[in-house]
Amino acid sequence: MTCTEFEQVLPDITGGDREFEQEQHLRSCSACRSLVSDLKAISQQARSLQACEEPSPRVWNSIEIALRQEGLIRQPSRGEPAKVHSFPSRWRSAWLLPVAAILLVTAGIVQYKHAANQNVVQVAPAAASRTQLASLPTEETMADQQLLQSVAQRAPAMRDVYEANLRDVNSYIRDAQESVKNNPNDEEAQQSLAYAYEQRAMVYEMAVDRSLE
């Protein structure tokens, strides 16, 4: 058997089950023996590459936001109240207070007002009437910019991720606002808007929480 002939059958015999003639050639040819040894070393070392890298935190952030937007996350996190977002104790540093204030103003107190039966269900930040919602985008934009600045100072690599997340969630809020505007008596539309604000509050919480790490 020649080296050429041996190399031609090599793809089928790398598992080790060789015919007598092939074994004979391998025993007598150091070059082919070296080739087989090299290919085996490459294959073995390749297995060590399995699961050796880690994605950046933005991957989980994006997954989590998508899961919440799709309603696949249905329970509050353990230790987290259903609607009001509590802040971990380490947030009590002075510089965090403005960020916490922005969070409260933006997420707001979620109140529901139903015009027909006078239930108090008003979907807006505290003290803002439905007609004043038009002014919120400017306030929201300022709050977003301040949040992004804080994130950029603490964790610059995450700024773009949260900017993209805020863009998505603000778009969701605008759609929900439009829906409420067109169907003021629709409870589902109002709930969607409340949910959209919750999503926004979640982005804020995640942005501050993770940029601290």
Partner: protein
């Protein structure tokens, strides 16, 4: 990027860690994820993210693309988690999903998943014919970083088969089924990929030796 394995909330840290520590807990996490528990989703993600991301990275040789595909694979998994009945291992199910996501992406971009027709291979891509003349003696001297680099330099078709077989451990019949080629083609492409890697490692070693 710093290694992050737990969610940031202090109270949730212990729970997420606890979910990760015990093999049996994966089953619990799956059941809780079906009910929409966010901690369960995160625990499952933390358990499997490295394997999925590494697979995507090896097959695309691009960090941003690998992260997007990792995200997509997990989202598809979580959307379908309600249908998981436990007939196969969860990791197998997830891994297959990740491979399909990557292969679909490669097809979308018209990148060759595997060269079906050998005549379509360029001369540059094909490994050089070496009649066993050079004694490279690579055994015991290939380091992971070096190997990672040369895998990235492989043509996409060779890379796919090599990653699926030698890195991820799929058999040729499974690869043939996934990528839509014959078992013979899969074996042939794997051999060529290894030969090409050998050649690239040789070049890399020669360049290193030439440096003062």
């Amino acid at each position: 990027m710093p290694h992050q394995t737990e969610c940031g909330r202090k109270g949730d840290l212990t729970d997420a860690r606890k979910l990760k520590s015990d093999k049996l807990s994966e089953a619990d996490a799956i059941e809780r994820a079906k009910l929409g528990d966010p901690l369960a989703f995160e625990a499952l993600y933390d358990l499997h993210k490295r394997r999925v991301y590494s697979l995507c990275l090896r097959m695309t040789a691009n960090t941003a693309a690998a992260e997007d595909l990792t995200q997509e694979a997990f989202l598809q998994l979580f959307r379908k988690i309600g249908t998981f009945r436990g007939e196969s291992a969860f990791s197998t199910w997830l891994h297959r999903m990740a491979v399909n996501v990557v292969l679909m992406q490669l097809r979308k971009k018209n990148l060759p998943v595997v060269p079906i027709d050998e005549s379509l291979e360029t001369e540059e891509d094909a490994p050089k014919k070496e009649l066993g003349g050079l004694d490279l003696n690579l055994a015991g001297s290939i380091d992971r970083l070096q190997l990672r680099r040369v895998i990235e330099a492989l043509p996409p078709g060779y890379r796919t088969i090599f990653v699926l077989h030698d890195v991820e451990g799929y058999e040729h019949n499974e690869i043939a089924d996934m990528v839509g080629c014959s078992i013979g083609n899969s074996k042939s492409q794997l051999h060529k990929a290894r030969m090409k890697l050998r050649e690239l490692l040789k070049t890399s070693r020669a360049e290193k030796a030439a440096k003062p």
